[in-house]
Symmetry: C3
Subunit: 458 residues, 3 copies
């Protein structure tokens, strides 16, 4: 690349290519070799990307089938060798080798012969979208089936079909990957540093926005965070199957979830819709307030939506027993776009620009959470004399109030132990970076001291 | 009646007929035989109505004149034998036998002869409504007087009048009735069950909306509640004279008012105006939130108004020392319609439809208060697996999110001990019945447990 | 004056004349004889005004240079004998004898000769307002300079100039004045009475609105308060130089600031803009709520603005360590009108009507704070019987609800120890005077008792 090349454009293209690789991977589900192949793609991207990344600890976890996890049990492992229908004339239909969505997820091994009418209850299509293949699964209810375009379904000739579902559903394990990037600064009060959790789900086959985009952006985030000169938080990045993956991880990490100070679930980051941030169940967690600032200042179309107990893995992190401060970042929401959970969620549905814009918003949210803190004015009685500390104009000018001076005054006035920097920016109605600049200047002359917040946060 | 007959229409007619009987009763005031006659009508309606009621304990209380009640004293008992004016030509005017409103309420016994000019300070009319008789009283200031149409007043011939106020104002008693329908379930924490208080005033003569409508609807409510298979609350229904009646009842029941968990004052339920719910002084009591839901889902025109210390007996129940969670249900408010406190508030002013609609809203408010409760998710870490409990779709469908599933997820997410079911419905923005259906389903599989709220409520 | 003369008009004229005297005083700054001369004008006005004032204790304080005050140090005292430029042709420019603003405030003694180009960094003008002289100071950074109209600056001939800054900057003192008018009633709970602080800054030379208006109005306020028959609060009025004055006063009175229950900073009260009340940092202090009522009922154009840490001495009183309930009353705000801090802020810029209107609002705010209190209903169980106490209509009328009755009922209902009178007026949506009238009537018959509020206030 040349110096004149736009790095953001490069980022978008790189993310888009990775989404393409992920979409082209073998059948993926909540367990099995498809997940492992997906994590291999991630590992390769982590190791070979541009710019050259630091060494990133990418740990694969295998949790045996039958392991009790919270209210659930890790299911049997599912793998697919082949799956298709053979029609009366011997031609193949709905061959999973042609498209990973043709096979109902977690279809049990089956080899039988059925007339078309007996077969129909096992066939799924979208009559209102006759050229799309729907994405269906049956994880917890043993079943088998095929998904195909409605046009193909209607064209199936009468007669007897050979059903070939050459899958295995056996004791094995659930696979997920975890990257832990430790904080580079000691925790203010000693003890374990606070953690920032970012997760994405790995279980959907083929579909690009949901969730190749999430996997690609989280991979890039790992590279970005690993390259940072310092980190106030420990970052914990999870590539997990949806629902059962977060449940499994929560079950295995129950003792440490109290260290999670901020969290984000990533999904659907590549479509052409505006950015969407879904608040955590708490509604006013630091990450919620940081996301509001980051999206507002992004210049991108965006919206903030309240928590609801539907969606992705935020459902588990925000279940009432955990109630973690975990929001969700994406663009179009599940069910809002017709391509959702269909073959039309393909590589053409995501754009480099959207992926890069999502990545920028994500890193800005993280940056704000990382910078947010409680500080205390060490000279709270009257205003401290800024002039003799070189922080004030020498000659009393009349009109042109400097934003920087206002930042200094606001920060001095509001650092009383009840407000963090996000609160101060909101109350003062000044940009977060202006707050930070004022904090740096004031801390530099000893007028501010860092302290733990009322709840030991952030 | 036949099966095809509309029971609600039958209800409205029955209520309307009862209002007619109450309006035709003898002169009624805050004490005396008029009240007793009114309560006889109620007792008869309780015993003879359709459908056949359970036996309803209808207890009449007589509180002697002179009894101190809070800051007041039970007044002397007032009874009317006759009251009229005899004009210069011997003809009678303003005869209470013709209309109960002709006599100023609590007129002291008087027999005298006065010229028309001397008589005028004792005559009351409505110049702007020349054909209506106003309703006036002088309970606490000894006086006598006559109310008549302004047309009749203007037509009075000059000359000397014989004044006949053949009343008695003597030591006697204040009469009220009380129906107590005990809870059929034990209180969650043991002890006395919570109570639901519903009251209406019995003291206005003749007028139909204010308050024949209240008396009729409360009578019907007694029959309705007595017929219920179960009651979580004890219901206490009061037929009391306005102001002094509620003060008397409060004075005599001071030790038990802490058990009143919900309350409603009923009045003006039959006019053609929209439903009006006036909030309790607390503003967010369960009954206030239940009324908001009931009126919103009623499909009837309605409004919610904040508490003010003017109106009916809610003034006493919501005085700051008691501050009971008692709201008021009605339609047009006092003073909003010109017929208020006049002879034009007659049977034609109320309609069967309005009475039946008010009754429906009333019973729905009660039903919601009765059903509202605190429940706790017994499996709050992650989502419980609904599928293996038969509470979730077998095959993961894409688009059609079921309201029932959302109800389950919302209830599971929000039953953390800080919200009752009304709060949950409001936060989730789903119908109260959907919340209840979800609670039933979840409690049925042990995923919810009933518990007392933070204040031992509801 | 004659009886028919409008006293308010008289007040406005008197204030306007005083502003004129203050604007014509010698050079004023944060220290020095200019301040003393200004306080002399105030003292004279206090002693000679109309109507004849009570004797007012006007105490002058001199605080030595070098005294540590909070984070600051009292500066050297600055005095001016003469200051001007002598041009190449011997004519004088920017002579402080012609206009006090010609000299950069706190210019250090200087006598030198400079070419015009060397001189320019010491010359200040307003290119966009070519006929106005700007007001500039350099209190904390040793410097000297001259302010002149841009027209005059541009006309300066080339050549060498004699610079004459015949000032002294030597150890001396900072001068301020304090008037304490003690409460005439004992504090409800014993101990020191609560205080009401009203301050204005004395340091600006020449300019009329900023701050001749504040000094004049505070002078008049002293006369007004001294003449009151009774005062519930101790009033403490300060005539202080801006910033360093309030810091000095706070440093010397640190032990008593806890007694300050209400406070106001006065400035910019004479321009033609609407009234502006800037809330205290707390935002809902009594003075904030009183100002909202006073301005709303004033009939004058007005606005309420939230606290910000920019402006006048409220910055010091509302610094987080003190966080005093001190708001600011004025009209146009600093920086909002072009005349601000220029020679155009002259006597023609302020009007008698604006000054009188500001004074009326000020005294009304004080009156409301003085009258606001916590009272408790002594008969809170049910409504007390108002009729037998002569507080209720004798004959039950129908329609015309009397505001006075509503006032009685609201006050009885809400005096439960959680709301002061301002809260009650706001909740009941009735005028503050109606609340007061109801309190007077009810307290007169023993139905209300005065009590300390939840924080011992007001």
């Amino acid at each position: 690349m040349t110096v004149s090349e736009d790095p953001a454009a490069g980022l978008g293209e790189r993310l888009h290519q990775l989404v393409g690789q992920l979409a082209a991977a073998p059948v993926r589900s909540i367990t099995g070799d498809g997940v492992r192949a997906t994590l291999d793609i991630v590992a390769k991207a982590l190791a070979e990307g541009w710019p050259a990344p630091a060494e990133i600890p990418f740990e694969i976890h295998e949790v045996p089938s039958g392991t009790p996890v919270l209210d659930w049990t890790v299911p049997k492992e599912w793998n697919v060798r082949a799956a298709y229908l053979v029609g009366p004339d011997g031609s193949r239909f709905a061959d999973v080798a042609d498209h990973p969505l043709h096979l109902l997820g977690y279809s049990v091994p089956t080899r039988t012969r059925l007339g078309l009418d007996e077969l129909r209850p096992h066939l799924f299509s979208m009559p209102d979208r006759p050229d799309w293949i729907p994405y269906r699964t049956s994880y917890w209810n043993e079943n088998w089936g095929f998904c195909l375009t409605d046009r193909a379904l209607r064209a199936l000739p009468d007669g007897e079909y050979e059903v070939v579902v050459d899958t295995t559903l056996t004791d094995g394990s659930l696979t997920y990957a975890e990257i832990v990037l430790p904080a580079t600064e000691p925790a203010p009060g000693g003890g374990e540093p606070d953690e920032f959790l970012v997760t994405t789900h790995t279980c959907h086959p083929a579909t690009a926005n949901d969730n190749g985009s999430g996997i690609a952006v989280l991979t890039e985030l790992a590279r970005h965070l690993a390259a940072l000169p310092s980190r106030r938080h420990t970052f914990r990045l999870l590539f997990i199957p949806g629902t059962i993956g977060s449940i499994t991880w929560l079950a295995r990490n129950r003792d440490m979830v109290g260290r999670i100070r901020h969290g984000l679930v990533l999904t659907g980051l590549g479509d052409r819709g505006g950015l969407t941030y879904k608040r955590s169940r708490r509604g006013d967690a630091t990450v919620d307030r940081a996301a509001a600032v980051a999206l507002a200042e992004s210049g991108q179309e965006h919206r903030l939506v309240d928590f609801s107990p539907y969606g992705y893995d935020e459902r588990q992190f925000c279940s009432p027993g955990f109630d973690l401060p975990v929001g969700r970042l994406g663009r179009g929401q599940h069910g809002e776009y017709p391509q959702y959970h269909t073959s039309a969620d393909d590589l053409s549905f995501v754009t480099p620009e959207s992926l890069a814009g999502s990545f920028a918003a994500l890193t800005r949210i993280i940056e704000i959470c990382d910078a947010n803190a409680f500080w205390r004015n060490t000279s709270p009685y009257g205003e401290p004399q800024l002039g003799r500390r070189g922080l004030y104009r020498a000659i009393g000018a009349t009109m042109n109030r400097q934003a920087v001076e206002m930042g200094l005054l606001w920060v001095l006035n509001l650092t009383d132990g009840t407000r963090d920097l996000l609160d101060i920016g909101a109350r003062a109605d000044i940009p977060f970076d202006s707050v930070l600049a004022a904090v740096d200047a004031l801390a530099g002359v000893g007028l501010l001291a860092r302290e733990a917040g009322p709840e030991g946060t952030p």
